[in-house]
């Protein structure tokens, strides 16, 4: 089955075959990105606008690079400094941008559902680069690609997502994706940071790292999102590191060939011990960043194909 989406707003609307389609295209871009001549022309002539209502360095530069390598005109808008401060609503901002005829809009916003709302008001492809505590689909796709390359498959794996699940859109997108691809997902963390309702989606939930990591193939650590917390969820960072930080002792409960992942940026000594993060035999954290560019190229390539096809179909039709 081909990739049929008009937007990439989340993992939830995707069919498993569509996920595979994105990953397969991304594999080709991994190879391209490793050559010295890195240009392709999938987005030639198209305009990509990155709208980030929240600070981001990694995701924004990854999207920017992905667009440039595919030949798009890329514009970055830092929305914090702009009209939002002057009281403009999200929808008005969207309509203003829409009038400039962008083809791809990459949006990050601090509120869940905001990117979805915006996508209803524009006539270009919208990519969700993270909305509040809802979804961050390209992160889940790049994690999936990393796992598939490291483990040789993306099904029937035991995967532990550890740490601050409550505030994490990365965790939500990942657990939906990994569930769709038929893996067993565990959530591990202090009960104040792991929504117990996820049990109803078939996740196993642990509040003890040793039990939670037992015999897993993949350990996915999450950043403690202090900026999203409104009060005390944990007593202190040192107690958090002692009980939930990933160190060699806790990792020893996982399978001997288990890989360690982290969406970045890392808080060393809070959720992950520096030596684990740097261990090239276990950590795939650098590879995740590499896959990020490839997956974003793939997602934009596929959305642009659909966009061009739908514009072609509309030609000559009175609207």
């Amino acid at each position: 089955m081909a990739f049929r989406q008009k937007h990439l707003l989340g993992i939830e609307p995707l069919h498993p075959d569509e996920i595979t389609a994105v990953l397969d295209v991304a594999e080709r871009y991994v190879d391209l990105n490793r050559q010295s001549e890195k240009h392709a022309d999938a987005l030639r002539g198209l305009t990509q606008i990155n709208m980030f209502f929240e600070n981001s360095t990694r995701t924004q530069s990854s999207f920017e690079l992905a667009g440039k390598r595919l030949g798009a005109d890329v514009m970055n808008m830092s929305m914090q400094a702009s009209s939002i401060k002057k009281g403009e609503t999200l929808i008005d901002t969207a309509l203003t941008l829409n009038a400039m005829h962008p083809d791809l809009l990459v949006v990050r916003h601090p509120h869940s559902g905001a990117v979805d709302l915006l996508s209803q008001k524009v006539n270009c492809a919208v990519l969700n680069a993270g909305d509040g505590k809802h979804e961050h689909p390209t992160q889940a796709l790049l994690d999936a690609l990393t796992i598939r390359r490291a483990k040789g498959r993306l099904h029937r794996l035991n995967i532990a997502i550890c740490g601050d699940v409550t505030h994490s859109r990365v965790a939500r997108s990942n657990l939906i994706l990994l569930g769709k691809m038929e893996n067993r997902v565990r959530l591990v963390g202090p009960p104040t940071l792991v929504p117990q309702q996820f049990r109803e989606f078939g996740c196993e939930i642990y509040d003890d790292m040793a039990e939670g990591l037992k015999d897993v193939d993949v350990v996915m650590m999450l950043r403690l999102q202090k900026e999203r917390m409104d009060g005390g969820f944990i007593p202190s960072e040192r107690e958090y590191f002692y009980r939930y930080g990933l160190d060699a002792e806790k990792l020893a409960h996982a399978k001997p060939d288990a890989i360690v992942m982290h969406p970045g940026p890392m808080n060393r000594g809070v959720e992950i011990d520096g030596t684990i993060a740097d261990d090239i035999n276990r950590s795939v954290i650098q590879e995740q960043v590499e896959m990020g560019v490839a997956v974003r190229m793939a997602a934009m390539d596929l959305l642009a194909r659909n966009l061009r096809a739908s514009r072609e179909a509309d030609k000559g039709v009175m609207v």
């Binding site: 939830e12 609503t89 999200l90 929808i91 916003h109 509120h111 869940s112 559902g113 905001a114 979805d116 709302l117 909305d131 509040g132 505590k133 809802h134 979804e135 859109r169 939500r172 929504p195 309702q197 996820f198 109803e200 989606f201 409104d230």
Partner: protein, 421 residues
């Protein structure tokens, strides 16, 4: 004199639903019977339902302050079209209705503009800030029918205790919003798998019971007459039932939205479904329907809350809460009737008789000597709701596009026809 003939008379007091006739003399119901109607000027109801007009406890008319959202004139038209003959308005306006002067202003506006009866509630504390009680005695003398800070919970228990003690001495009815404000701070949804998946800030349904438990303890201390504006969770019901059994003067209401919608209706962040408290689980909804049937929950109200497009066209967390419902209250209630969950007399007991009784009003009944506040409606007539046909200035209804049944054919206030459908 008018005689309504061939009407299906819905009497929430006698709990009957039978074909008969009703004679109206001036502003009063003069006579009622079955069989052959007396001679005179008559309206043939064609077997449609004739019920006491709805007494809607908790309507927000956005005067003073936000007349662009709703005025007494537009709310009155909406009420008449929805079969609501008495609106009990909320004081959560800008500014709050917290002094006899402001109360006099809204009374004057209502009397000149609204086609239905309007009674006003007063804030319980000045500015609804939870610090100093309003002039409860003066406000009562000026005509305030109840005292409430609406969704602003009085967090300081000592302030609330004093206000309730004082209110008791004046015989005032206090209306509270059962909610633990610390726990529900910032919430936009009910915690559960839906909110977890959507990544929305959520509040445990337990926050309602905690608020209820605190208020019940204060009721026990002060013996005040107290009404809970909205009970929406199953876990709050046992405590309410115990308080009623123990003889405290306590009643409770629920909004029509919490009886007919659940949290999943929010779907893809649809802000017209954002209400306060947030929509609950289906189990909670069913428990509320059952509690209305058993009489544990006394009142169904619209919780009519007009919001303009701008306050709803925002990301879900930032969007304003509330829904307009004066015109959709009756057809939404018909869903419960057609589902076989509530009978028409049970529905009108909760929508007309009980709220009127609670506020000491004579309406809400279909007997000789009661005011001729009446609604004639076809409970089966189907239609698709189009929000732009609403008479409210604001169009924020969650039922836009919904298939509904139940059309108002006529509304009478004190024997005068105010709406013809």
């Amino acid at each position: 004199m008018t005689i309504f003939t061939n009407a299906r008379l819905i009497d929430p007091e006698a709990m009957t639903d039978e074909i008969g006739w009703l004679r109206v003399e001036g502003p009063m119901i003069a006579e009622r019977g079955t069989g052959k109607p007396p001679m005179g000027e008559s309206i043939d109801c064609g077997g449609l339902c004739l019920a006491p007009g709805i007494v809607d406890l908790g309507v927000k008319v956005s005067e003073p302050g936000e007349r662009h959202k709703e005025s007494f004139a537009s709310a009155g038209r909406a009420a008449a079209a929805g079969g609501v003959t008495t609106m009990i308005t909320r004081p959560d306006t800008m500014n709050a209705i917290d002094s006899p002067e402001v109360l006099e202003f809204v009374q004057r506006r209502a009397a000149s503009d609204a086609v239905v009866k309007v009674k006003h509630m007063s804030a319980l504390t000045k500015g609804r800030e939870g610090r100093e009680m309003v002039e409860i005695g003066f406000m009562r003398d000026a005509g305030a029918v109840a005292f409430t800070d609406c969704d602003h919970v009085v967090a300081d228990t000592k302030v609330l205790q004093r206000a309730l003690t004082y209110a008791k001495s004046t015989g005032a009815l206090v209306i509270g919003h059962p909610q633990e404000p610390g726990l529900s701070n910032g919430a936009a949804a009910t915690s559960g798998k839906f909110a977890a998946l959507r990544g929305l800030p959520a509040v445990s349904p337990m926050a309602e019971r905690m608020g209820l438990d605190r208020d019940l303890a204060l009721i026990e201390m002060t013996n005040v007459s107290y009404h809970f504006d909205q009970i929406t969770t199953a876990r709050a019901l046992p405590a309410l039932e115990r308080a009623k059994q123990n003889g405290f003067d306590v009643t409770a209401g629920v909004s029509i939205h919490h009886l007919t919608l659940n949290e999943l209706d929010v779907g893809n962040y649809r802000t017209f479904f954002k209400v306060k408290p947030p929509l609950r689980s289906e189990d909670d909804r069913l428990a509320m329907v059952e509690a209305v049937a058993s009489g544990l929950i006394d009142v169904i109200s619209s919780m009519h809350t007009p919001q303009d497009e701008e306050s709803k066209r925002l990301p879900f967390e930032e969007a304003a809460s509330g829904a307009v419902a004066l015109e959709t209250l009756l057809p939404a209630a018909m869903r419960l009737y057609h589902a076989g969950q509530l009978t028409l007399p049970e529905l009108f007991r909760a929508m007309a008789l009980n709220p009127a009784k609670r506020l000491g009003l004579a309406s809400g009944r279909l007997v000789e000597g009661a005011p001729a506040d009446l609604v004639l409606f076809d409970p089966d007539a189907p239609f698709v709701m189009d929000r732009f046909t609403l008479k409210s200035k604001s169009k924020n209804t969650p039922f836009d596009g919904a298939k509904m049944q139940g059309k108002v054919k006529g509304t009478w206030v004190d024997g005068m026809r105010v709406f013809e459908g």
